[in-house]
């Protein structure tokens, strides 16, 4: 059997989710070669990068361009604070390096477009980290694509994290300062709930919306979202209320081909579900329908003295990391598109952007109109 040389990967900041880098390293086609970041990042970021490099016994270089230039890397794995995502990805793409990026795509439309342009110009492959290879989602996809429910006309996604994010809403006493978003996110790294890491506060739509919207995008065969109506609220956590962002949102989606859909998303508090939150898909076709528990398959584990936060239902057969990495390797090999490329991610960004505008205005928003206004 002819073995191919693994793709050498530069981890461009591991300050947020090191699971992206770990996930890529789970595949034999990828090996981590170096961790790199800019020299002027805060000390805590340097510390995290160094810890990750030490754990993998690879160098940590405080110079991104040097790492890309001198370590013979073909892939960049990007997971810094959210507002630095695009910049690091663009620099990697401009250096001719393929990019795997943590979510969200960007915090600004201009940055997202700059990334799409850089990926296109350089011809590198781009993968936005996602959950589309979760077994229940994949099985649904295969069933829908095989015509199992006929022509799809509606799809609904529920996506909840039953986690807390600091003290509950309403707990701030008179005279107390508002909770600091950035400081909270840095501290939240300990339990992995720092998806919104960055100086700029982000709501759940911006942080996590890519996951269920990527499901919808895939399951509809890439149908474009044309119009949205959305509502949002800081319903659970003081952190979100203090920073003017939502921890619960609902979105009506109107898509190409007359497909109707909806998304309900939230960080709904640890008390709301015994196993971290329930995510579901309802998919309706003219010949049938699916109700999909995104967590399936699971195994129930119950025992005396079980810690309250330990999940009662444990997900099994999750092979998402390997399959994403495999998909990325194939895209590099063939020059094809990844399961969630830059342009598809930009379409999801545009949906979230329009939904947030709808929340502000109280009216439905056409995606194209929203797009034109942002360029106005």
């Amino acid at each position: 059997m002819q073995s191919r040389r693994p793709f050498r990967c530069a981890v461009l900041s591991a300050v947020k989710h090191d699971y992206v880098a770990r996930g890529m390293a789970s595949h034999p086609r990828f090996e981590l070669a170096v961790v790199a970041d800019d020299p002027d990042v805060p000390d805590w970021a340097h510390e995290r990068n160094q810890q990750f490099a030490d754990a993998w016994k690879i160098p940590y270089v405080r110079d991104v361009e040097r790492a890309l230039r001198e370590f013979d890397v073909q892939v960049a794995i990007v997971s810094p604070e959210a507002e630095r995502h695009c910049d690091l990805s663009v620099r990697a793409a401009n250096a001719g390096v393929h990019v795997v990026q943590d979510k969200p795509l960007a915090t600004k439309r201009s940055e997202a477009e700059r990334l799409v342009a850089a990926v296109k110009k350089s011809g590198v492959r781009f993968l936005m980290w996602n959950r589309n290879f979760f077994p229940a989602v994949q099985q649904s996809y295969e069933h829908v694509m095989a015509g199992g429910i006929g022509k799809l006309y509606a799809i609904h996604a529920d996506f909840y994290f039953a986690k807390d994010a600091g003290p509950p809403k309403g707990s701030r006493q008179p005279g107390d300062p508002p909770l600091d978003w950035y400081a909270h996110q840095i501290a939240a790294h300990a339990d992995g709930s720092d998806g919104g890491l960055g100086r700029e506060p982000m709501g759940e739509l911006a942080i996590e919306g890519i996951y269920p919207l990527a499901y919808i995008q895939m399951l509809t065969g890439g149908a474009k979202v044309q119009r949205v109506f959305a509502r949002s609220t800081a319903h659970f956590h003081q952190l979100y209320a203090d920073n003017g962002v939502e921890d619960l949102a609902t979105v009506t989606l109107e898509m190409e081909g007359g497909i109707v859909g909806s998304l309900a998303i939230g960080r709904i508090g640890a008390a709301s579900h015994p196993s971290g939150g329930e995510s579901k898909l309802h998919i309706l076709g003219d010949r049938g329908a699916l109700v999909v528990n995104e967590a399936a398959p699971t195994v129930g584990i119950y025992y005396k003295g079980q810690p309250p936060k330990e999940h009662r239902q444990r997900r099994v057969a999750i092979d998402n990391d390997f399959l994403l990495a495999d998909n990325f390797a194939q895209a590099i090999d063939t020059g094809g598109e990844t399961i969630l490329g830059a342009r598809a991610s930009l379409a999801i960004f545009a949906t979230v952007e329009a939904a947030l505008e709808s929340c502000r205005t109280g009216q439905a928003v056409d995606i194209n109109d929203c797009w034109e206004r942002s360029h106005g």
Partner: protein
């Protein structure tokens, strides 16, 4: 003992209802103290009018009251006394929904932020508008407040409707109802064709009732609502609030129609 006329329940179901009721006896139509109407045949129409005109009380299913003029007509039969008319949304009497409402009222779930309803109807005889209004009423009942805005959409087919209700402070409800298609093709459901589900998320907890809104829940809801009606009749408690609540659901239903027609969110006036 209250003498009760029942219209629309027959055979074993009527016998079972008779056995369950405490404080009332079900008798053939005629001179009775009160009436329960769960279908709307020509005979039932006449008996509703007769009972209300003669000062008696009537329980009528909300799904049989499809419009505001219809409700006004009922009230006019009662000479303006809405307290004698109990308009009952059967969805409120499903055991699963009552349990969830009880937990909400007990404060266990905190303030409701989201109500999520899915309904696949397989019965061709069900009126889409009335069914949708029943869910609008259920959502507002569980939310504990009236919506401030409504946005509705379809896939271009009147058999499918999705409604987005907005409540104060950004809370919301999402309701989607699919009716039987005119020419249904063979099914390949991985769930029952008449699947229904309800999810409620509050600030302190959540509740879900998935795929269970059918018999025996369906049988129990009539018995529970009938017993509550009998109890209230015996205690002299009026039902005007049920009329107001159903009127409000119908107004929201009108907003749904306006939203579908204009493709815009409809903002409702307070109250």
């Amino acid at each position: 003992m209250i003498r009760l006329a029942v219209s629309g329940v027959h055979g074993p179901a009527l016998q079972q209802l008779s056995r369950r009721l405490r404080g009332a006896v079900v008798e053939p139509p005629g001179e009775r103290d009160a009436a329960i109407v769960v279908d709307y045949t020509a005979d039932a129409v006449a008996s509703v009018e007769m009972f209300l005109r003669s000062g008696k009380r009537v329980l009528i299913l909300a799904t049989l009251c499809p419009s505001l003029p219809f409700v006004d007509q009922l009230v006019s039969y009662a000479r303006g006394d809405a307290s004698r008319i109990a308009i009952v949304n059967p969805l409120r009497y499903l055991p699963s929904r009552r349990l969830i409402k009880g937990e909400i009222d007990a404060g266990k779930l905190g303030t409701v932020g989201l109500v999520r309803i899915h309904h696949r109807e397989t019965d061709d005889s069900v009126d889409r508008s009335a069914l949708l209004c029943s869910h609008l009423d259920l959502a507002t009942w569980l939310s504990g407040r009236q919506p401030e805005c409504v946005y509705a959409t379809t896939d271009g087919n009147t058999a499918y409707t999705q409604v987005h209700l907005g409540f104060a402070s950004g809370a919301s409800a999402l309701i989607e109802v699919s009716m039987p298609r005119l020419a249904p093709a063979p099914m390949s459901y991985t769930v029952r064709p008449d699947y229904r589900s309800l999810l409620v998320i509050g600030s302190a907890g959540a509740a879900s009732a998935d795929d269970q809104m059918r018999e025996p829940e369906g049988q129990l809801r009539l018995a529970v609502s009938a017993q509550e009606f009998v109890n209230d009749v015996a205690a002299g408690i009026g039902f005007a609030s049920t009329v107001d609540q159903w009127r409000q659901a119908l107004r929201i239903g009108q907003a749904v129609d306006r939203s579908l027609a204009t493709h815009r969110a409809i903002w409702l006036e307070a109250g």
